[in-house]
Symmetry: C2
Subunit: 160 residues, 2 copies
């Protein structure tokens, strides 16, 4: 894409809604536009985390390897961020992400991601809100799953 | 505590390790030192989220109300942050936090929290890393719980 079109696209992403469009040019210069087709792997569980992706259009599945095979743990949509955990925690990729449809993304390298949130703290706040919201959802799902587990392990008559 | 002692305490917290100690005075002025005894409630599930707490010493239990009563989902220790999810997502408190021992905390109001991460993006990065790390742990626990659930629901002979 051209820089002008990149900036147009970035302006439409809630994460960057509060950023001066003139400054978005910098981000457009330092990020990379990448397209995928259904089945393409964006990153593999265990890989080093070198970049984050923002979904511009399409869907992606988040898959985790377990002893009983791959488990789909989430589906990501437009404006969702992929891969920021491995960047932030400095750990290998915690999941495999595969395009579930034609997928347009913006790839931001680890180095540029840190520059970005340092230069535009508002983006950092949006990223924090996104992480906090996911943590909220995951914690609730975990609480529900633990509750069900307790029930099943007790047996049908409430006995251990 | 005196401002000088507050700054000493703040310097010892990893979250603020990279911040100019002279600037920590500002934080010391805008934060509040609060002590609790075992059993005291710092915040209740469903309350509005008006502040975050940093644990300076002691432990706190994170409790979630379920149809079968309260479930302990985590224990927080020195340097852990409490209550930043409700601040960041603008949702009611997602859990009840109760002091599990004598507890020393630093209370930062919602308004000051946002000022802080805007003025010191490095603190924002540390908060992101903390959230990402917790999301990582919770996602792994959820994957394990779901795996166990699948197994139990299948029955002992792998039949539904």
């Amino acid at each position: 894409m051209s820089i002008a079109k990149d900036v147009e696209v970035l302006k439409g992403i809630p994460l960057f809604a509060k950023i001066d469009p003139a400054k978005l040019k910098l981000l457009a210069f330092t990020s990379e536009y990448l397209q995928f087709v259904a089945g393409d792997e964006l990153c593999g569980q265990g890989d080093p985390g070198d970049a984050a992706y923002i979904i511009l259009s399409g869907e992606a599945d988040v898959l985790v390897d377990t002893p009983r095979g791959r488990l789909k743990v989430a589906t990501l949509h437009r404006n969702d961020i992929i891969g920021e955990i491995a960047i932030l925690c400095d750990v290998p990729r915690t999941a495999t992400v595969v395009a579930a449809s034609e997928l347009e993304t913006l790839r931001i390298s680890k180095e540029n991601f840190f520059q970005l949130v340092t230069q535009f703290p508002q983006i950092g706040i949006e990223v924090m809100a996104e992480l906090a919201s996911r943590l909220h959802d995951t914690t609730q799902a975990l609480t529900q799953a633990k509750g069900k587990l307790n029930e099943l392990e007790k047996g049908p008559n409430g006995e251990p």
